[in-house]
Symmetry: C3
């Protein structure tokens, strides 16, 4: 694996660089997900016999006290093909997304806002110490006041901000608190096909608190309630009260309150009444800078740490990185735009999630070169602007030739050829990929397969002249992946 990791690093770092003249890349990345998976659960209906792809909006909306959760329909053919379930959460100011875990990895993009996130790894030490709520002491009976300044220990809390990609591993309970001044908007893709999911391709989430209200606040576009209403429910509610009371060694009354129907009425995201200011890490800015400034060193450290068994560092594994740093674009073109990638090299935890993401900006009328994804499906989210997208399958059919708009999501299946042309106002997009080391193969441009072929192959393949073949190979000059808009030369 380590071998592959390194090879793929090379690919990623070079394959998309504009100036990658003698770039060396290998092709092993193509062989797909490098580590074991416990299988794709493709049933007949889930196969990729797509005849038509259409960008889509969420179809299911769960209103909560402190925000909204929107779900795309994972039964849509395109999401079935890719084995993913996209979702978007809005957490309002001073609201808390309740602790939950899910049977598959989820890769989150923070579209707007900021907050704190806690991911609990079973058995990691509680390394954060907060002074707990002295100002709330009056709310408690007298005998507790003395404890008002007691310290609370818990696991690490992470600061997240707009532009961050956050990795939520399968099975890890996590919560998120919006302590910012605006809404926190998070767009996520769940990889139902990932080997960590031995259940099936249904989206599930196990909530440790709250739950989807029974009273029907949840609605579909057509207004009817969905069966997915039952998807998310506080698992405590279903255990016997007495048993839980004994397990926690607490009075049954506390358990009863945790299980109350009223808890579910608040939904999946709740308003925070007890202040959560004290759990904010003081060193957040420093941490932030450091993480961004030395991604490669972080990687080195990781390799070392895991290679020599210094596991104590694992509990502090980085779970986020930022995709909006201008100075760190992986592909940049003054005329066409830029793209930032996050893969297993930049965020090693992605190795175990076998996912990655990119954020791109296309200037008005600029193009993504026609290309195919060698080892992953792509799930594309339009953050701003609009674009014309063409996707072509192996039988020479256009499965997609649509204008996509802000807030829409669509899938480009593995190996399908696609091209994107930004609209008049440009395009900002986020792509999730079902590989931690994605690789694509381009048709036009500096690093394209057409350029890699002998002129004689092109002349005979297309019945064009050597001169025309040379133009086909060379006319995009040094442009790679991002193509500037232009009137064609003759």
């Amino acid at each position: 694996m380590a071998v592959t990791t390194k090879l793929l690093l090379a690919i990623l770092l070079t394959a998309f660089l504009l100036s990658a003249t003698n770039a060396v890349r290998d092709f092993q990345g193509q062989q797909g997900r490098q580590e074991g998976q416990r299988g794709t659960r493709l049933t007949e209906a889930q196969q990729c016999r797509l005849t038509r792809l259409t960008a889509s909006q969420p179809t299911n909306r769960i209103e909560s006290e402190g925000g909204v959760t929107e779900l795309w329909d994972e039964n849509e053919e395109q999401f079935q093909c890719a084995g993913v379930a996209p979702m978007r959460s809005v957490i309002r100011r001073n609201s808390l997304s309740l602790p939950n875990f899910h049977p598959m990895p989820r890769l989150v993009y923070i579209e707007r806002g900021q907050g704190l996130i806690g991911i609990t790894y079973p058995g990691c030490a509680e390394t954060f110490q907060s002074q707990s709520q002295p100002f709330q002491a009056g709310r408690e009976p007298r005998e507790e006041r003395g404890q008002g300044r007691r310290s609370d220990q818990h696991q690490k809390v992470h600061r997240i901000r707009q532009g961050d990609v956050v990795a939520l591993p399968a099975g890890a309970a996590h919560w998120c608190y919006n302590d910012g001044e605006e809404e926190l908007v998070a767009v996520s893709v769940n990889d139902l096909n990932h080997r960590s999911n031995q259940l099936d391709q249904n989206l599930r989430a196990f909530y440790l608190a709250g739950g989807v209200p029974e009273s029907g606040r949840q609605q579909t576009q057509a207004g009817q309630r969905l069966q997915s209403r039952q998807r998310f429910q506080n698992i405590f509610r279903a255990f016997d009260t007495e048993l839980m009371a004994e397990a926690f060694n607490i009075p049954a009354e506390i358990v009863r309150r945790m299980q109350e129907e009223q808890q579910s009425e608040r939904g999946l995201i709740v308003n925070v009444r007890e202040g959560m200011r004290m759990i904010r890490p003081d060193e957040e800015e420093g941490e932030f800078e450091e993480e961004q400034g030395r991604p490669r060193r972080g990687q080195q450290w990781w390799e070392e740490a895991t290679g020599n068994g210094l596991e104590e560092n694992i509990c502090t594994m980085k779970i986020r990185t930022n995709l909006e740093h201008r100075t760190q674009a992986d592909i940049f073109s003054r005329q066409a735009g830029k793209i930032n990638h996050v893969n297993r090299q930049k965020l090693p935890i992605l190795k175990y999630m076998d996912m990655s993401a990119s954020r791109g900006t296309l200037y008005p009328n600029a193009l993504l070169t026609p290309h195919w994804s060698v080892n992953s499906h792509c799930v594309v989210y339009v953050q701003r602007g609009e674009a014309q997208v063409q996707v072509v399958d192996h039988s020479g059919q256009q499965v997609m030739n649509d204008r996509v708009n802000q807030g829409e999501m669509f899938v480009v299946p593995q190996y399908f050829a696609s091209t994107v042309r930004a609209g008049q106002n440009g395009l900002e997009f986020v792509v999730w990929r079902t590989s931690s080391e994605p690789m694509n193969s381009q048709l036009a441009g500096y690093t394209s397969v057409i350029r890699a072929m002998p002129v004689e192959v092109l002349t005979n393949a297309y019945q064009i002249s050597p001169n025309e073949a040379q133009r086909l190979k060379m006319n995009r000059g040094g442009e790679s992946f991002l193509l500037s808009p232009q009137r064609r030369s003759i």
Copy 2:
């Protein structure tokens, strides 16, 4: 992989230890089976849409001359979900379970008795030399008597005993002989979903001798004969006699006797007429002690041996370890019980089988903390005693809330939350897991996710006071996984 191995070792060794104060564990284990699998063959029917789990007994019983084979119905929803097929074999005194292999790994727990097992690896040297049956020489014609003392060479034979876990890799032919004074009872789980099985999710076994009798000794609970009767049949019977005679370069008559219907009449386990005393290894006790005394060194040795290509050690790869050594409990509580694990660290061959097992003892009324399994399904067998089991799914439904009894088997699917409370007489159980580095996440106790969260998250999530949240986090003190029975404090 080596990286992951080491990390996961850390998890396993620490995650379940009672005193794991600053225990460091990582979360990569969660990402499921670390090495490749050739897919799960989940069809619609096999998905984990369970609404009800029920502990069950074997439904199919194959009587043989020398013992009994009982099969649980692998088409039961719970076993389909986990992709496993459980079975229990009883080999009577001085009886031989005939050589066979199966297309998936099988992990065996020796519930009672002792015996000898031989697993033949293609191409490993015949390192055992026995003196063959001088006392039987009279049975042979005169000209053979001179050869009566000839030596016989064969591959290693392993001693197995009550409490052993024995790993039978996919495709390896094996036999087992009960040379003890009581019945040998073996309970096994076959992992049909394992990548080594490129066929399908049907339980198969390829017998090199014997076979299930046609005459209907096999019965189901309801008394009807099953189609699975044809499952196990001597593969020699189907080859042409002459062809086999030529292949082995022996008279057709010998082949004919090997193929006789009468052979199948004896079933899968036969009485031994020719004594098998001489193949018992003399050094068995020594070997036994050594293996148990230095599990970690064995691991080191393994890493070395495989790392530097000293493959000659592989043919002697350890295939068993014992789960009943009191002094080696992985989790121990004077008030609640104890648990012994065997995983890829203790038995490296499990790395390739991607399975593991545990044996637990719960004292009367003690609890297993509410928890979920992060990277595997659990298949639980009740060896002695009884317990109340609650299992909860993501939608907040109790899929199980039953009393389970001796001899029953049930599945707790991956990520489903479960808790167990032992009955008045305590509980002894064995768990198989579909991961070689299993990991669980607990709700209550010292290493729980609740304890890992800030008090403020709990107060807001459950609308309880900080004091109550502290109790929720701390009231189980240092107890981890195994919880002592107690009247609740107020």
Copy 3:
């Protein structure tokens, strides 16, 4: 993985050697495909519930201008079970198989002829420099003549010859040109189940030029046109002309010619009008000798290169090796025949494709010992001669007992026991396996499981005498896998 690699190397190198007296092999190979797969997409219909195997011929034939492509029906039960799609291509003299890629790895055996093949890895440097077509300059308008001697740079071109096994990774565009004096015949197996294929089990190929003609030259055996006609089509045809023109920065007219229906009329293999002599590498013979002479050193180099991150060597990764070198047989018997293997050790790229191949020659009436394949399906192609094949399943049924003839293909599923007896004129065959480190377990002969068992197990299992058991074990002497024809001794 490296660990496993080495172990498996040992297996392969020793397991099949005739003189492997104390051969050491391990059993990890059996655990199937070592690296992760994104699942097998077995639906109900694709399961291995075979009751009958039959050798078959291609059922679909695509005529092209420069050759013929024949496809076996991948929906045949046996191919579904193995998850493979076999095909055979005939490229006529001076013809070019057009650039295309496919979503799964393809392992090709060159049955006859020679040619040049180019595989384009995205981003690898264009390390080949050719002088482009000075003699054709007259065909171009005047202003281009000056450029007639311009040099053309492209990626590496490989020489392929009869007996070669060529690895085509998933997603890599490749072309092939027959520059020899006879037809180039290539027989291939596509592994649809491979993890690199996240789509589904349908055979697809994405052509960058040409396509299957609409006009019905393609025919099935029964004469009807197939739906698979649409399978292979130039992906350029489906993109908008203007968009492509802009992407390549070329006149729309050139794109239009690339997209013309007439292009498809030429099919998948076209006649070469523009000479392709100049792209032939001068050093071909030297390269050829070197590759064959030091396969083990190549491996060492590979391990090193990938281990220490010298990725620049990857773009030159070996993609072929020859299976017809007499001096390099892996198994050789003066009386019975010989077998050459190619696995991940000899051709490291196979590690990522998880496939391997063998070529065998059986002398008249010689046998392949009864055996089962431990970690892969086998796809067998009869190159010359004929043979009687018996295949037996777990239920003791003969699923195959047929004479197979030249040009036929059949599957022996994983774990099924099989034996082959060559006809009067011997047999030449090629086997593809769905593992890069295949391993088998033999019933008769020097390295068989029968020989690995104690005599007492055999006497009791088969109710034969110790003397007969000794014969069963020993009568084939030192013969392993390949068994010489003989009249049976008594």
